[in-house]
Subunit: 196 residues, 4 copies
């Protein structure tokens, strides 16, 4: 868990430490509510060091966002194999979301909270959009196969992701635990909502 921000190749563990510290603090205190020196302290580096890796606080925020989004996308894509039925593919997606949010709760929360943050740049938004498009493809496939109900894929995606996000948020608020069995049960409910 929390390995999400490891850059490919042994770039630098300072860079990772900064990204991790920023992720945690931006969740705890919001982007604007987090002083850079605090990020440096949590990362165990000097304040000036952050600026060797990131041009500005905004650049750091975008780097965190893209790292999280990319990691989520990787995890969802990994679970997709050719030849899955729509029902199996939905299960793969749903469990991929769950495993990601379980293993990287901070990253998941960050993506949700900072989804439309005003500091996000074009590249971050494009990263976000790319993932949406690939999920859309999945839905269209399921609709073509007659397994998913008709209608705007964006609507179905909004409802299913929204339901999952709602579950994660409320479980993190302490209302219930998202155990294996609960996750399996709610997957079934979500599927009832989406199937043709």
């Amino acid at each position: 868990m929390g390995v999400v921000l490891r850059s490919p190749g042994a770039v630098s563990d300072k860079r990772e430490a900064i990204l991790t510290a920023a992720l945690e603090l931006f969740n705890e205190r919001s982007f604007n509510g987090t002083p850079m020196p605090l990020v440096a302290q949590r990362a165990g580096v000097g304040a000036g060091t952050i600026y060797r890796y990131f041009d500005s606080k905004e650049a750091l925020g975008n780097a965190v966002f893209r790292a999280c989004k990319t990691a989520l996308q990787r995890q969802l894509v990994e679970r997709w194999r050719a030849g899955l039925t729509p029902r199996e593919a939905f299960r793969a997606l749903w469990r991929g979301l769950w495993e990601f949010s379980r293993d990287n709760p901070a990253a998941f929360q960050f993506l949700e909270t900072h989804n439309h943050a005003s500091y996000l740049d074009a590249e971050s938004i494009a990263t976000s959009e790319a993932m949406f498009v690939s999920i859309c493809d999945f839905v269209r496939h399921g609709q073509s196969a007659g397994a998913l109900r008709d209608g705007d894929p964006a609507v179905l995606i909004a409802m299913a992701f929204g339901a999952f996000i709602g579950l994660v948020k409320e479980s993190e608020a302490g209302r219930f635990a998202l155990t294996e069995s609960v996750v399996a049960a709610v997957e079934e409910l979500a599927w009832k909502m989406l199937r043709a």
Copy 2:
């Protein structure tokens, strides 16, 4: 629309103007990203005037939150009449949410975005909790009547509200329009997810 922040009784319209300006700006730029003078400017008052109505920026944020939450609760409660079947009650709830988010998009977004903001005080959290509790009651009634599926009410609520919030967010992101017919259709889908 946007009348949500009107306090009962002929309270000063400056207070309302400040609440409205803060609501909009906290949505647009986040709480910490919004300077008080900007709130004052948007409200058409002097910077010092805000502090005649609110003790601090935090107090202003809490006042906005409570005003929105109270307005939402009022709208949902109003639609509830005795003698509704669970299905009718769910429709009332769902449409209440929709009408609120349609008529007060800023208030709805604020509640969603600032739901667990670090500046919220005990009273704001209590206001939030009170609403959750009354929705829980609704779910338990439906379960007793055999209309809603069994399980932790919090889980069902998280999924249904989550789905609705997902719809509103994505429609506001411009992916689709939440028209009457779409709302009716998705209500049906949500009900499929919840019914026994």
Copy 3:
């Protein structure tokens, strides 16, 4: 006690209330540390009302200072009668100071604390100077009569007044009580310092 700020003629009890409130608050919180609305509140008048009686905060401060200084001078002068021996005149002066500080502790403290305050205007300084000059005359008379030791009158005045002020300050700090008997005793000591 505390009647010091009563202007001659029935000017206005609001004016007096403002002067009294300002005197107390300037002592408690310093001139710059006292907001005008607080003065208004303590005086039981509206904030704007102060400006009907005084042009500005500085003007109010100067009015307080002059009222206190004038009252002190009046009290000291009253005790002076022709035909007193230097020793008797010193007693009159010393007891005059004591009675004033006992009956108007706030006024006495104000005069001491704000003696060289940066907001004092020329007239206030002149009022202060006038009193010094008349005390100087007293000293010179005593010196001519061979009762007071020779030397710069200002030096003797500085020491005697300084000693008295020291007594009042420390008694107000709670180190001892300035009772009749103590005052009589210290008067004797001060006289030992001054006599030829």
Copy 4:
């Protein structure tokens, strides 16, 4: 002169510059009448730099007070040697005061003006009290030896210190110069007041 605020050990000279600037400005304009940026300007540092050395304006004021008080106490204590007669000890004390006020007029004025300032914290008051206690001991010794007149030591201290403070104030107001010969003369007068 003015070396009073030099902290022992090679502490940053920025800290000293800030203390010195604050001392001067608080004297000239009062504590509440002095904006922090003005302190920074006079100290030749950035406004934010002050807060690297002092938590708040109040903390700065207390640091100035304690530095002055400690320096005065050090100077008085240094002049005390065992085996002095009460008369010699009084001379040591009196001259210690004089040398301190001559060499550090700003520090002396600050101690006098801000002696009971509302921003002083418990530690500052304790520092102040400690010095009073040690002077009290001196007086009691003199009384036991039959050299100083009987009575509450606090009363004698109040008169003697008050007289000295009066001299310094009036000399600084320009009424006379506190030359060596004047100081010697007034010391004699003060002794006449105190001796048995």
